[in-house]
């Protein structure tokens, strides 16, 4: 199998041109699972199984001194016995053995390690001391570390699910998360809807690789169009500012711990008002980072930023089969600073001649309960030149709805009340890379993200 940006040597051994220090995490040639296990409830089993089932194309080496084979793969007794050319180690062994494993991985030429094991800085002073040993081993050996105490890495375009649950849907959203579960939830939604992800990295205790390293990588990753992150704090603010300033891809961050932190009774008004959260707000705004205020908002914003085209302006036309949804969309549009402009007279006349008499030719344009894909298409074509964005709300089980929308066109699609037809058409649209939002509120708020930094000095 030929790898991207690579070529095959006569030996059949894939060789890639290493273009980024973190390539060994995102696009390893081969993977060793240190602490692979035969017990189905253990992560050493689950992760090996997920790597195999996600369709990783390179060699996979379970390492376990006691087992002959696991999941049909022959075991290697120790890291030292691994063949040369292993790029990535996934480490799932007791914490006290991890520093040694990192050192051995370095000696074997392994470039990066994902440490799933817990029992480090999150677990008191003894754990913190062990983590310092890991950092020391990493520095000495040059092995880059993700984690420890993390949920691993999942790179669908590379078939590398060194994480759980098993999710393989490819897409253009990269997920960085300081919480394994929060990141997995996001990726789960994206898989469920066939939106998919380009990468998921669980930061864990981020003793080495941090959010800034990952943004630096993802900024140049061909599979990623938008970066979504859940963070509790930023590890190195100066480097973060520098790297994000140079990143041209949209970033949306859900930053938790927003209440009370950093506030205290203070002498100056400025001090009393300058909680950490206000400073994060200022920082994000200046770096043009979108700020999400819930997990759903993070997901919706990432979808919009990855897949919706840039709008030319704020004038929207809502086309709906549901009057109520049209009004909800209009309310949210007004609150979000979008312009619900009236239909130009001649366009309205044309539409009246095209549509059944009971359709309401206005903005929102209501096709009423018997809106069909054919009617939608007529309206979409006739009005496209006159608005910056069309908000297309499918408010019923509208068959072939996916044929109405055009990938890359300035169209926001909202689908609700369509049951099984909705689920099928939504999947079809997502496969066409047209994002679909579940409610007028979530759709319009996601669209408004595209205007968030209008007028903000660069």
């Amino acid at each position: 199998m030929l790898h991207r940006a690579g070529f095959l040597l006569a030996t059949g051994h894939p060789l890639r041109i290493m273009s980024h220090p973190l390539d060994s995490i995102f696009r390893p040639r081969s993977v060793a699972v240190i602490g692979a296990s035969n017990s189905p409830e253990k992560f050493g089993y689950i992760i090996l199984k997920n790597i195999l089932e996600a369709g990783f194309r390179g060699p996979v080496y379970p390492v376990n001194p006691k087992a002959a084979e696991i999941l049909g793969r022959p075991c290697t007794p120790s890291i030292a016995d691994l063949p040369p050319g292993v790029d990535l180690a996934v480490i799932i062994i007791p914490a006290k053995a991890v520093p040694q494993a990192v050192a051995e991985a370095g000696q074997r030429g392994i470039q990066s390690a994902i440490i799933i094991s817990g029992g480090f800085a999150e677990a008191g002073e003894a754990g913190a001391a062990l983590q310092r040993e890991v950092v020391e081993a990493s520095r000495r050996s040059g092995v880059r570390i993700v984690g420890p105490n993390c949920q691993g890495v999942n790179i669908p375009p590379h078939g590398l699910c060194a994480s759980w649950p098993l999710l393989t849907e490819q897409g253009e959203i990269a997920v960085i998360s300081q919480s394994g579960t929060v990141g997995a939830a996001l990726m789960d939604w994206a898989s469920q809807e066939h939106v998919g992800c380009s990468a998921f990295v669980s930061l864990g205790n981020r003793c080495d690789v941090d959010e800034t390293d990952l943004i630096d990588y993802l900024a140049q990753d061909a599979n990623t169009r938008a970066i979504a992150a859940y963070l509790e704090g930023i590890k190195d603010l100066d480097r973060f500012r520098r790297v994000v300033s140079g990143c041209t891809k949209p970033i949306v961050i859900l930053k938790s711990g927003r209440t009370a932190e950093g506030r205290r009774a203070a002498e100056s008004h400025t001090r009393s008002l300058a909680g950490r959260d206000e400073l994060y707000t200022a920082l994000f705004r200046q770096l043009r980072i979108h700020r999400a205020d819930s997990l759903e908002d993070l997901y919706d914003a990432a979808k919009a930023l990855a897949y919706l085209p840039r709008p030319a302006g704020r004038r929207i036309l809502t086309i709906t089969s549901s009057g109520g949804s049209g009004i909800l969309a209009t309310d949210w549009a007004e609150w979000s600073g979008l312009q619900v402009a009236p239909l130009p007279g001649p366009v309205a006349e044309t539409l009246r001649s095209l549509l059944p008499a009971h359709c309401i030719v206005a903005n929102p344009l209501d096709l009423t309960g018997d809106g069909t894909a054919a009617l939608y298409r007529k309206v979409v074509e006739a009005t496209a030149p006159h608005f910056d964005y069309q908000v297309i709300i499918f408010g019923d089980p509208i068959l072939q709805a996916a044929d109405v929308v055009t990938p890359g066109a300035p169209q926001l699609v909202i689908f609700l009340g369509g049951a099984e037809v909705e689920r099928q058409e939504r999947a079809r649209m997502h496969q066409k890379k047209v994002p679909v939002f579940p409610t007028p509120e979530r759709g319009i708020r996601a669209l408004a993200r595209l205007f968030a930094f209008d007028g903000v000095a660069a």
Binding site: S268, H269, L279
Partner: protein
């Protein structure tokens, strides 16, 4: 309540010193004199022109109006002399328990919209500049915007535009619009002060009275690390 933040060797600059530092950055500071006797207060009022404001100057009293340390709109030099005495008599805690450097006599600024410009130095973020609707209700309304320097005049204008009270500055209900460029210049100067004076921990310019042309800083608190 009247101590600088705990655990730090910090002190509030006496207001006259704070004004001098601000004036050095070409910021518009209200005309003022420091008086140590009722007679000096009366003379200062005469020189500056009435009405004047009198404010007690003590590093231990950052919120002067909370302790009866401020008199506004004093109409005559004689009243200024009397106000000097009244302030010290009614001050709580009693002046004998405080370090009092005198009473600042300042010209009353023409009426306008009260704005706050501030700065705080955060251990992780470094300096952050704040603008907001000023006056004594700042913390009640929390109508403020923050930026991390460097700060351009355009960005400072954008901060003012973000305030819920922005219409108060751009001409609300027949009032004249306020000088946004002058306010933006204050914010930019505060960012510069933060960059050039690492020993300054916090700045509160509150209120700045915004006028149709220009603005005037009438109260300034600057916290320095020793």
């Amino acid at each position: 309540m009247t101590r600088p933040p705990a655990g730090d060797r910090t002190r509030w600059l006496p207001e006259a010193e704070a004004f001098r530092l601000l004036a050095g950055y070409r910021l518009p500071v209200i005309a003022h004199r420091l008086a140590t006797t009722p007679e000096e207060a009366a003379q200062a009022a005469r020189d500056l022109g009435c009405p004047v404001a009198l404010k007690v100057v003590s590093p231990e009293i950052p919120h002067k109006s909370d302790v009866g340390g401020v008199r506004l709109n004093v109409a005559t030099p004689e009243d200024a002399g009397a106000a000097f005495t009244t302030i010290l008599d009614r001050l709580t805690p009693h002046p004998s328990r405080l370090t009092i450097q005198g009473i600042l006599v300042a010209k009353m600024a023409a009426p306008g919209t009260e704005v706050i410009v501030g700065m705080v130095r955060d251990p992780q973020f470094g300096p952050a500049v704040m603008v907001g609707l000023g006056g004594i209700f700042v913390e009640l309304y929390q109508d403020v915007a923050f930026r991390l320097p460097p700060l351009s005049p355009a960005e400072a204008r954008a901060m003012l535009g973000e305030l819920k009270a922005a219409p108060l500055l751009t001409g609300y209900r027949g009032q004249p619009p306020r000088d946004l460029d002058a306010l933006a210049a204050c914010a930019c100067a505060v960012a510069r002060i933060a960059a050039e004076h690492p020993e300054i921990r916090e700045i509160d310019l509150n209120p700045i009275i915004a006028h149709e042309r220009g603005c005037m800083i009438v109260d300034a608190k600057i916290l320095v690390h020793e």
